[in-house]
Structure formats: structure tokens, C-alpha cells
């Protein structure tokens, strides 16, 4: 009577990530299964929210049936000979002896080899089918099967699952699905990441729900309305996410279940990164200065640091490199994570910058003098010069100044449009 994750194929980390995304990070855990090293048992305490999605996951965990979730590659061949990518997901009762018989939920974690899926929407011809929603749809079938509420015909059962799916879609603010159609296929109609609400996964995993929501919303807003508004910005995030998703679900899976690890990541990476991002967002919103780098003046920098109460968090006791090394040693991260160009440049180096600036401000105090302004500007320019070699491919030769200027112009247009 348990919900299991199949550890023997595909990406168990992403199953956990999707369950985490659906439940809102609250109370999920996992246990080893005696005699079944290829399975992990999902545990889930009482949800602290009134989310219908979380309630459904709780029902599944507590149901009197064995349900095994397998996240498989797009080429996985189902019992009927079809690749999983022809349907995105499938659910069946596996009556192969010996008992116990199990309910199998299978879904495509590679999202049609990276192209994503679309389905017919109620108000749009094509809407996105995020990976966690595929899982939720299949878990709906599993629940109907386990609870004896399965519909009389496959067609009626499909509509029932799509109605369930729409409850989740509404809860998460997604477009709802047209339940009279099962049209769909490969190719996401949006630029959303397949990881859906998991784009700031580690941030969310290390903070409490409301705190995470506020911070993650602010980061998403800065990312989507400013940083991704230029070709370089758009391409940059695609590449950063490609790196990030390769290690973050696995790490977050441990973070959720390990309070000490959660505290360490929060102190050494997440809070400093949020702090420096918040500061950078305000800097960009000031508009470009006259200089070649940040182009910001002494007065502006002073004002920004003070207004933002920077640093909002103290410099951590250890450097991000030391923490990463510890995670590598304990097997939670691959050895090469710190060396991945976008991770290093966009996540780790800004944290190191935060530590340096925090230290400098604590020693030299306010107001910031001209020498420190020059040093900040020099470090930022130096950081920009160390950007990944392939980052300029979308717009060769783009400078920090022009990126910031373009982002600022776009933001101003948005503001004007909002006022109009």
C-alpha cells in the first residue's frame, strides 16, 4: 500500500522533483524498501496546505495498492510496442505473477527528446504539458484504479483524468485542457522549461513556502522581464538551465530531507545569491550609466547599497567552493559541477563577489568611496570578461553595458505599457 519510485531506470530524481513540485515541497520523504533495491518508497506527512493536488498525492501514498512510478526516456517501448513519446505517459495494471500485482505509472522524463509536449487547450489551440502535469494525469488514472473509481470506458476514464488534470492546472495557474479532445503531440508551444515550477528548485527547497514564493517570484520577474529580454539573455538562461537541471533535482531531493544540508545551502549559496541578484536587479533598473562597465556613479552605488540594505545577509563562514567540495566528497554532486561554465559564472562567482563586497563594506563602511566604486566596477567588468566562451553566439560582441542598456530599455517599455 505504497507509492514507489523506480530507481532502476531513467531519472528517479526527476520523479521526486515532480512530486515535490506538485505537493509544494512540504513533507515529502523517501525510504529504502527491504528486498527491493530498485525501488524507493515515497512518504508524505499531512499536507499543511489545502491544495487539492497535495491532497491527491497524500491519498495515493496512503492507498491500499502498490503503485510504481517510472520516469523513462523518450524511446522507451511500452508493453503495446509503442514508444512512450507517442502518448507522453501511460498507466497500467501489471498482473504478471507472482503477486503482488502493481499499478505502473510510466512517463517520459525526456519530454519527447527535449521538444516538450502540447495538448489542446480550452481557450488556446495548443497549451503546454509540463512534465509534472503528465505525472499528475497518470497518477489520476492510478488513483481511479486503486480506489475502484475507474470509469466504465477508456474514453470516459480519459475525460475523468483530464478533469482531474484541470484541477491541478487551475491550482498552478496553468491553461486548462480541452477535455473533449485528446489532441496533442511533441513540441511545446511555449518557451517554458520542462521543469515548470522547478526553475528555482534549490532556492525553493532551502526556504519555507511563503519566503520561497516571494523570493522565487521576484527572481522570475527579474529574469523574465529583464534578463531574458535580449538574445544573449535568452540564450544564456537556456544554457544555464541545461547545466542546472543536470544536477539540481538530485541535490534538491537530498536537501528536502536533510535539514543540515538545507541550512548549509541556504547560508552559503542561496541567500548570498538572492542578495546579489536583488542588488543587481536594482542596478539594472537604474538604467545604464555613462561609464564603460556598470557605468554607475559613486552616489548611485551608495544609494543602491543603502536602499537595498546590502548586504542583507552576512558573508557565510565558508566559501561556495568549500561547500561544493563538501557536496562532491559526500557524493551529492558530481565532481565537475563547479567547473561547468554557466554554473560557475552565473551562480558561484556572484556568491564569491557577495562575500568580497560584504567584507569590504564591513571593513570600510558607508559611504562607499570612489576607490571602492572603482573596485566594484572593475570586479564586475572582470566577471563579465570571464563569461562562458559561447555566450556571445546569439549577439557577438555584446558588452555588459549594452546588455544592461537593452534590458533596461525593455523594462522601461514594459513599465510604460503597464501605465498606459
Amino acid at each position: 500500500m505504497v507509492l514507489y519510485v523506480d530507481m532502476s531506470i531513467g531519472s528517479p530524481d526527476l520523479v521526486f522533483a515532480d512530486l515535490y513540485s506538485l505537493t509544494g515541497q512540504d513533507g515529502l520523504g523517501e525510504n529504502n524498501v527491504l528486498g527491493h533495491p530498485d525501488l524507493s518508497m515515497i512518504t508524505y506527512g499531512t499536507p499543511s496546505t489545502s491544495s487539492p493536488v497535495a491532497a491527491r498525492i497524500k491519498q495515493l501514498v496512503d492507498t491500499a495498492a502498490d503503485i510504481v512510478i517510472s520516469a523513462v526516456p523518450s524511446s522507451y517501448v511500452l508493453p503495446n510496442g509503442a514508444a512512450i513519446s507517442t502518448a507522453a505517459g501511460a498507466t497500467f495494471r501489471d498482473n504478471t505473477p507472482p503477486p503482488p500485482f502493481v499499478i505502473r505509472v510510466i512517463y517520459d522524463y525526456e519530454m519527447c527528446s527535449g521538444s516538450g509536449y502540447w495538448v489542446a487547450g480550452e481557450t488556446k489551440p495548443k497549451i503546454d504539458m509540463p512534465r509534472a502535469i503528465i505525472l499528475y494525469h497518470e497518477l489520476s488514472h492510478a488513483w481511479h484504479l486503486a480506489s475502484g473509481t475507474i470509469a466504465a470506458t477508456p474514453a470516459a476514464e480519459e475525460i475523468a483524468a483530464e478533469l482531474d488534470e484541470n484541477i491541478a492546472r487551475t491550482h498552478f495557474g496553468e491553461d486548462t485542457r480541452l477535455t473533449t479532445s485528446h489532441d496533442g503531440g511533441c513540441g511545446s508551444p511555449t518557451t517554458k522549461t520542462p521543469d515548470w515550477n522547478l526553475d528555482c528548485f534549490i532556492v525553493a527547497a532551502t526556504m519555507d513556502q511563503q519566503e520561497a514564493k516571494d523570493q522565487v517570484d521576484a527572481l522570475r520577474n527579474f529574469r523574465d522581464s529583464v534578463l531574458r529580454s535580449t538574445p544573449v539573455g535568452l540564450q544564456f538562461f537556456e544554457r544555464l538551465y541545461a547545466e542546472y537541471y543536470s544536477y539540481s533535482p538530485g541535490l534538491a531531493r537530498h536537501v528536502v530531507q536533510d535539514p543540515a544540508l538545507r541550512a548549509a545551502l541556504r547560508e552559503h549559496l542561496v541567500l548570498p545569491l538572492l542578495d546579489v541578484c536583488s542588488w543587481a536587479a536594482r542596478l539594472v533598473e537604474q538604467g545604464p550609466g555613462p561609464g564603460p562597465g556598470l557605468g554607475t556613479s559613486e552616489a548611485t552605488l551608495n544609494r543602491l547599497l543603502r536602499e537595498n540594505a546590502f548586504p542583507a545577509v552576512p558573508a557565510p563562514r565558508r566559501s561556495p567552493a568549500e561547500l561544493i567540495q563538501e557536496l562532491v566528497v559526500t557524493g551529492l554532486l558530481d565532481r565537475d559541477v563547479a567547473g561547468r561554465p554557466y554554473t560557475s559564472w552565473a551562480l558561484l562567482q556572484p556568491v564569491a563577489f557577495h562575500a568580497w563586497l560584504s567584507d569590504a563594506l564591513s571593513r570600510r563602511g558607508y559611504p562607499v568611496d570612489r576607490a571602492l566604486v572603482a573596485e566594484v566596477d572593475g570586479r564586475v567588468q572582470s566577471w563579465w570578461a570571464r563569461r562562458p566562451a559561447d555566450m556571445d553566439a546569439a549577439q557577438p560582441g555584446e558588452s555588459l553595458h549594452t546588455w544592461a542598456a537593452a534590458a533596461w530599455s525593455f523594462r522601461r517599455l514594459l513599465d510604460e505599457a503597464g501605465r498606459a
Binding site: 510504481v68 523513462v72 524511446s75 508493453p79 503495446n80 510496442g81 507517442t86 498507466t91 502493481v102 511533441c186
Partner: protein, 177 residues
């Protein structure tokens, strides 16, 4: 209404090392054909180096008796209209390992070893086509029935092709038949 399967090629991406298989098909008949361009299940015969691939609609009735499929609602497969005499390159990514469901019984994972796709010497290709679009009928009693109806009037071309590593012309265009 005839579709000919002409040549097969394996193309290796030099950057990623990922392989894709391409098969060139030609409409040798005198009416336009709707050709399925989405790949269904792959399989690989290790002893002979044969990769089997079907650009075909799903066949939900294939499931073994001990498997009771509750949810498998395949999407309408992608299709292309091929004019008489015209050729088309069908492509599919070739995974390094093909995983296929193998009933293990009881509480278990689905992992198994999978089949490693080594050298591809030949391809056993199947391509399904018909004169009208493959359009699953809404409201059928089951996916099996949906696809039985969608297949009315359809045919499948089969061929075993030797494969080369030469990439196909991406725009072969209409050719004289």
C-alpha cells in the same frame, strides 16, 4: 498507392556523438499519400546489427494479456503529404540503449539491462501511409477501436535496408518516377 523505401543512413553528430537514422521514402504511385513521420517503438537485434523502426500509428492491442492498460491515449501521429513521385526523409534519434517493457512480476522496477545499440548494419523499416489523413475518431470505445477506425484504408511499406553513414540530401524534392 505505393510507398517505396529507398535508402537508409546513420548520421552521427560530431559534437554530441548522438546518432540519428534517416530513411528516404518515395511515393511511386499516382496519388498523394499521407505518411506518418513520427517514430513508434525502436528495437535492436544485437546478433545481426539490425535496428527496427516503425513510422506508424500505435497498436494498443499488442499488449500481453497480463497487462491491463488503463491509460494509453496516443496522440495523432505527425504526418506529411507526399505528392506522386516526391521523396521524403524520415528521421529518428537512435538511443544508445533501447529499453523495452519486460514483465518482471511482482513489485519491481522496469530497469533491466536494456539493449545496447552498437553498430547498425541494417534497418528494418516500416512506414504506414494512406490516401487520407490518419485522424483518430473521437468517442470510440477504446484506444484500440480508435486506431482500428483510423487505420481503415491504410497500408504499410516494409523494407530491410543496408545503411550507410552518408547523410541524406535534406531536400531531395520531387524526383522523376
Amino acid at each position: 498507392m505505393v510507398l517505396a523505401l529507398e535508402t537508409g543512413h546513420v548520421v552521427v553528430d560530431e559534437t554530441t556523438g548522438e546518432r540519428s537514422l534517416s530513411v528516404v521514402v518515395r511515393n511511386t504511385g499516382d496519388e498523394a499519400l499521407h505518411v506518418i513521420t513520427g517514430g513508434a517503438g525502436l528495437s535492436y537485434d544485437e546478433s545481426e546489427g539490425v535496428l527496427s523502426v516503425a513510422w506508424a500509428g500505435p497498436d494498443p492491442s499488442q499488449a500481453p494479456p497480463q497487462i491491463d492498460i488503463v491509460s494509453f491515449h496516443p496522440f495523432t501521429p505527425p504526418q506529411r503529404v507526399l505528392a506522386p513521385g516526391e521523396t521524403l526523409v524520415l528521421s529518428v534519434a537512435v538511443p544508445n540503449v533501447v529499453h523495452t517493457f519486460r514483465p518482471a512480476g511482482g513489485l519491481s522496477g522496469l530497469g533491466g539491462a536494456g539493449v545496447t545499440v552498437d553498430e547498425i548494419k541494417q534497418v528494418q523499416a516500416t512506414v504506414e501511409y494512406k490516401a487520407t489523413p490518419f485522424q483518430p475518431v473521437r468517442g470510440a470505445a477504446s484506444p484500440t477501436e480508435t486506431w482500428r477506425q483510423a487505420r481503415i484504408g491504410a497500408a504499410a511499406a516494409h523494407a530491410r535496408l543496408k545503411v550507410s553513414s552518408r547523410p541524406p540530401d535534406p531536400n531531395p524534392g520531387p524526383t522523376a518516377s
